[in-house]
Symmetry: none
DNA sequence: GCAAACCTGTCACGAACCTGTCATGAGCGA
DNA sequence: TCGCTCATGACAGGTTCGTGACAGGTTTGC
């Protein structure tokens, strides 16, 4: 899951990012509306945490721009001053939830999960490919009903591949799904590594990951 | 098991919470419809105990909102004035059970367990895994018919694991099932501790708790 | 009321495992 | 054949997990 945190107080955003990171959420941090727009232009997020008070513009304006541009990503507003008016405005503009500072980190996490869950309720079902079953709920997979022991990264990668069986996924795309910007120094080679590790675990079955040189990877079943 | 108690009489809600707490249920208390909605937005509950008479709105309205928002959490209505009309209304709106004040605490417990059981489609009260039998009513378990001496927390954890044998449960999920919001400062490490303690008690049997690093825990029987 | 027993959760440290880099070699296309 | 992309084993570093010891709190029994 990928989260964009738009917040100018570095200490706050960092605390959030570290904490969410521990629960497997990939966090990017923007400290102005402008940089937030850059992030949003480049990357799809599962949810956005948006402070109202930002140095360059008001967070509600950013929200408004997002919505009028057709961006339906769930947004959680965050602010110290949240009058009833602000709150109504925010919700009317398309915010999905709000939280008043100071807030409890655990509550933030819970609300984010609730938002994402609401969004992902439909696609949380089990994905199947021949003898391979993947359950996003527990990040677990079985091959001919024998559990595969996948690590978190392996599971994420497998999910990406399974959800896009038609088209090969470029290494870039996989990379974006697997790592946040802050993992900036991770080499692209890491993707190859995880593909190799997945292949090893799938070796005994009819499911395989095929390479399209210069294009990407695709998972398929030759059963 | 996680319970939301919506009741404005503090003495009543507190009594319920303390009592249910002793049976390993993590209870959050809301004294208005509004705060109840906040809780519901943030946290998944196994069951809601809902008073009809609340200061801000009628409990049935809250119930109606929940159902129309697609929330299928079992609800037990609670009230002093329960005419047949009220009762019919409540059930029509999607309440799963009702109880007339004053009521016996033990009856409340029993009904809550029944509701949750119905939801989990458990035929019998007792959950079994190989030589391990768990009875939620008394929070007691036996291993090869020898009683295991479980503490409240251990028993709650075991129940969570047993009711979700298919998918590994994340530490976060276990945490949410074990602790209420008011236990806010408990560290995540506590989960590891209780897992260790449970393992010790299960050591002599074929039942074990496996770790999925970075993903969660799962109980299974290697008999 | 008091004391003993027990439950609960923190801390700290070591072990186990995951993660990503590097380096080397294979495979493919031109 | 050359140059590139990809595959994969080995390894270091970091993170997550397991567990013993302990302090504070609660329950139990007297």
């Amino acid at each position: 899951m990928r989260v964009l945190i738009v917040e100018d107080a570095a200490d706050v955003s960092e605390a959030i990012a570290i904490r969410l990171g521990k629960f497997g959420m990939a966090c990017d941090v923007a400290d102005t509306c402008e940089s937030a727009e850059d992030y949003l232009a480049v990357q799809r997020y599962d949810v956005v945490v948006l402070d109202i008070n930002l140095p360059d513009r008001n967070g509600t304006e950013l929200l408004q721009d997002m919505r009028s541009a057709g961006n339906r990503t769930p947004v959680l507003m965050l602010t110290a001053l949240f009058s009833v008016d602000d709150r109504v405005t925010a919700l009317d503009l398309g915010a999905d939830d709000y939280l008043i500072k100071p807030f409890d980190q655990r509550e933030l996490e819970a609300r984010l999960r609730a938002l994402v869950r609401r969004e992902a309720e439909q696609k949380s079902d089990v994905v199947t490919l021949g003898p391979l079953k993947f359950s996003p709920a527990g990040l677990s997979a079985t091959l001919e009903d024998v559990p595969l022991n996948l690590t978190r990264r392996e599971a994420t990668l497998l999910e990406l591949l399974l959800r896009n069986q038609k088209t090969p996924l470029s290494k870039k795309r996989l990379y974006d799904g697997l790592f946040a910007f802050e993992d900036a120094d991770v080499g692209v080679n890491a993707i190859e590594l995880y593909i190799a590790r997945l292949r090893k675990k799938l070796a005994a079955s009819s499911v395989s990951i095929e390479t399209r040189r210069g294009v990407g990877y695709r998972i398929c079943n030759n059963g």
